[in-house]
């Protein structure tokens, strides 16, 4: 098993967010908003099978009518960051990964 933390970081505007990893829903929340005092919007801890494999991240932004997807290879435990750029139909998603523990304060 591979333990990762998915951090929803910048660009969330108090909106519903649904996250699927490899097609499985791991988070479904209303009112997700980026907060400057913790430099993030939300986070969820996830355990995945197959370390080193490629995983698909699908983010559904109900308020924007957008579903965005990306793939990452996750070799070891760490943190996946999801950042949004733009608004409405022009929203784009950035996925990034750092190994090891990441925290916010």
């Amino acid at each position: 098993m591979l333990r990762i933390t998915v951090v929803f970081r910048h660009g969330f505007e108090d909106e519903p967010v649904l996250l699927r990893i490899d097609g499985k829903t791991v988070m479904d929340k209303e009112h997700v908003r980026t907060r400057m005092q913790i430099d993030r919007a939300d986070a969820v801890d996830v355990e995945l099978e197959k370390p080193g494999a490629s995983h698909t991240f699908g983010v559904e932004l109900g308020g924007r009518g957008r579903t965005l997807a990306g793939e990452l290879v996750l070799p070891e435990p760490g943190t996946v960051f999801i950042d949004l750029d733009g608004h409405g139909a022009a929203t784009a998603m950035r996925l990034s990964y750092v190994a090891g523990v990441h925290g916010d304060l």
Partner: protein
């Protein structure tokens, strides 16, 4: 005896000594802990060595004033005149031009004045600031950067004002501390000066080494243990010069300039409030705060609730959060999570227990810093700082993330002195109270401002003004302000011509009360060939600025109060204007409300900013509606000018795709230039109605600079149309108006010269 103030001594010893000798207030205004009570005589002064004396801290005076009309007093009411114990020094005073003698006033009231002097002790910022209650309902806050003149005397320029600034026209302050050796009798005399106004002198009594008092209440969730003090040498990775001591959270904030009190606290908050998962959501913590915080109130107060718990619902990756960022009274509650990632020292750390304790202590101070409205070190420029801020990504501050600096956590703590940065201390100690006080300004609104690069002896002064008796604008009326840059030195100054027109040098900020501040981003940038201008002593340059809208939208639209402030950068120095308070009146009637629905559009903003358009048809249509439905309004005056400018001359329009498509969307379509013929009769009618029908109102609403500009443009255009006599008559009208409005003789003469030249054409 000579008084000496030296730096470089152990300021903690000073703190202890100052506490022993701190004077009892004449009128107790705050809770000062058990045993303090009004009327208790000051403790006997303890002789101390001159080298240990610091004079920084809070000074206060209450000023007696009379009411304009006598107040009926139904029964005897004690008048709060301070009682002086025998042998006390003379009551602090205020001398101000036009003030009556306080002793003769039959119904006196006390107006409060505070001075925060910050020149020695822990982390001095060489700054003074103050609050002056000018009348019963108005006050001003000022900040000055200081330089030492003599041992007990400082001088500085006032670079920031907030509040009733029109009643406080001073630009410099001189501060002298008297009886510096004895806190019980210490006073400070502040003399404010400004160009063309009598000086104002206040003498204030030393009250406290701290600038303000703040209360902390710390409660824990069941099973969570806080770390509220540490041994600074417990972990081997530290600065070599870091003193060994037991440092408490309270001490950290005392060194930031506060008297810290702690109220009850120690409550154990049951885990049942966190729900089934025993992890805390923001809502659950807010609920707990309302129940367990003894000082909870929906109001601003210098008090916060600190909650220590195991984990946030976001899990181990969240070490703490200032959770109170919803609703009108924010920044009162903050939390730290002891079982989050901060408890795990990196593998191989030589002292993992000390590492974790330090991280928990650090995190507690960090989250409490957010309650003071401090942003993260790398986010200083984000949000709505009042003065543009610079990020401090490498700061060794409680507000930085240790693992974000170059070299990571070990590099951070290897150079960390357990303090806030200077910019943060400046904000906490000297910003207007409402920006910092918990429950007051919203989170991230006005968060920490940075001192602009002002000089202690500025040679130039920047003024923002409007050419009307009161800075009040009709609903929909475009807001045009005038910038005035004056050489206030005794020497000629070299500045660039058009210095006030160049957006690279000028920053304009607009803020509606209760909403974030915004920096004006004009629709267009202009590139001028620079020329140097000699500004003689007392001379000024002027420019007008349209601040209602910009390319990001409307900055001034809804009725209410706004603040406008300008900054101009000249030769590595920032000249900051005093904030201008502007009021937008409510809509008058149905038509104004109806038109407002279409008026605040991007096209209307652009048409107004560019003096008309032959392309933006929707914007023009709205302005025609304004002229038709609101003919006597000020906005109609501006609309007529914009429409007239577009109609007066032949203009060219670039058309792409038959005018039906934008350049980008048209693809292969061949662009062409269409010539738009003028409509001179209509233009003349509109110009006449705007500029000459009631020229006094036009000069007031357009501002003197723009009124003069449009008038000359109209006159020259009339002459070009063969109506030379009428053009000269327009300028005659302008000369008469500008003279009546006491515009500079130089400006009036320029218009006269234009008129004479027009006649000779």
């Amino acid at each position: 005896m000579a008084e000496h103030i030296l730096v470089g001594v152990d300021t903690d010893l000073l703190e202890d000594l100052d506490e022993l000798t701190e004077p009892k207030p004449l009128v107790d205004r705050e809770t000062r802990g058990a045993g303090a009570a009004p009327g208790i005589a000051p403790l006997p002064s303890i002789p101390i060595l001159p080298v240990l004396v610091t004079v920084s801290g809070r000074y206060e005076v209450d000023r007696l004033i009379s009411l304009p009309t006598p107040i009926p007093v139904p029964s005897p009411i004690p008048i709060p005149v301070p009682h002086l114990p025998a042998g006390s020094p003379q009551l602090p005073t205020v001398e101000e031009e036009g003030e009556g003698a306080a002793a003769l006033i039959p119904h006196p009231l006390l107006l409060h004045e505070t001075l925060f002097l910050d020149v020695d002790g822990r982390y001095p910022q060489n700054t003074a600031s103050g609050d002056i209650q000018l009348r019963l309902t108005t006050s001003v806050h000022w900040i000055a950067r200081l330089r030492r003149v003599t041992a007990n005397q400082w001088h500085g320029s006032i670079w920031y004002k907030d509040g009733a600034t029109a009643s406080f026209p001073y630009t410099t302050v001189d501060i002298r501390v008297n009886n510096a050796l004895s806190p019980a009798t210490r006073t400070a005399t502040a003399t404010f000066r400004g160009p063309g106004v009598p000086s104002r002198t206040s003498t204030l009594r030393y009250r406290s080494r701290a600038f303000r008092t703040v209360d902390f209440e710390i409660d824990c969730a069941a099973g969570a243990t806080p770390v509220l003090q540490i041994d600074t040498h417990a972990h081997p990775n530290r600065p070599p010069t870091l003193p060994a001591e037991t440092l408490t959270v309270q001490k950290v904030f005392e060194r930031a300039g506060f008297t810290v009190t702690t109220s009850s606290g120690g409550n154990i908050v049951p885990l049942s409030l966190a729900g089934a998962n025993a992890k805390w959501s923001d809502t659950e913590m807010h609920d707990a705060m309302q129940v367990y915080w003894s000082k909870f109130a929906n109001k601003a107060q210098w008090a916060m609730w600190v909650f220590i718990a195991s984990l946030h619902e976001q899990g181990t990756s969240l070490g703490g959060i200032m959770f109170d960022d919803i609703g009108p009274n924010q920044r009162q509650g903050t939390a730290m999570f002891v079982d989050s990632f901060i408890k795990n020292a990196p593998p191989g750390d030589p002292s993992p227990a000390a590492w974790a304790a330090r991280m928990k202590f650090w995190t507690t101070c960090h989250e409490m810093g957010h309650c003071f409205n401090l942003a993260h070190s790398w986010q200083k420029s984000l949000g709505t700082p009042w003065i543009p801020l610079v990020n401090e990504p490498e700061a060794r501050s409680f507000m930085n993330y240790p693992y974000n600096v170059v070299g990571g956590t070990s590099a951070f703590f290897g150079d960390f002195q357990y303090r806030f940065s200077n910019a943060e201390l400046l904000f906490m100690r000297h910003a207007p109270e409402r920006f910092v006080e918990m429950g007051n300004a919203l989170w991230f609104d006005h968060h920490g401002f940075q001192q602009a690069e002002t000089s202690a002896e500025p040679g130039l002064a920047l003024e923002l003004r409007v050419n009307r008796p009161k800075p009040s604008f009709e609903h929909l009326e475009p807001c045009v302000v005038e910038l005035k840059l004056t050489n206030i030195s005794a020497e000629p100054k070299l500045v660039r011509d058009r210095i006030l027109s160049d957006q690279a040098n000028v920053t304009l900020i607009v803020k509606k009360d209760g909403q974030p501040a915004r920096q004006l981003t004009p629709y267009a940038s202009y590139c001028y060939k620079p020329h140097t201008l000699v500004l003689m002593p007392g001379e000024s340059v002027y420019e007008s600025a349209y601040v209602s809208s910009d390319r990001k939208g409307w900055l001034i639209s809804e009725p209410g109060n706004y603040t406008v402030q300008a900054l101009v950068r000249i030769a590595e120095e920032d000249i900051v204007s005093v904030p201008l308070r502007v009021r937008v009146e409510p809509a008058r009637g149905f038509d104004q409300e109806l038109i407002a629905q279409d008026y605040f559009s991007d096209q209307v903003g652009r048409v107004m900013a560019f003096d008309g358009s032959n392309v933006l048809e929707d914007g023009n249509k709205v302005l025609h509606d304004v002229v038709e439905r609101l003919p006597g309004s000020k906005v109609a005056l501006h609309a007529r000018v914009a429409l007239a400018c577009a109609l007066a001359g032949t203009s060219k329009v670039l058309e792409v795709g038959n005018g039906k498509a934008t350049a980008r969307a048209s693809g292969e379509a061949k662009p062409k230039i269409r010539v738009v013929k003028p409509s001179p009769d209509k233009a003349r009618e509109l110009f006449d109605a705007a500029l000459t029908k009631d020229s006094n109102v036009a000069a007031q609403s357009l501002g003197h600079i723009d009124f003069n500009y449009y008038l000359c443009k109209f006159a020259e255009w009339l002459a070009s149309e063969g109506a030379k006599t009428e053009g000269a008559a327009v300028l005659d009208k302008g000369i008469e108006t500008l003279t009546k409005r006491k515009v500079l003789d130089r400006v009036v003469k320029e218009v006269k010269d234009r008129r004479d030249a027009l006649k000779k054409k």
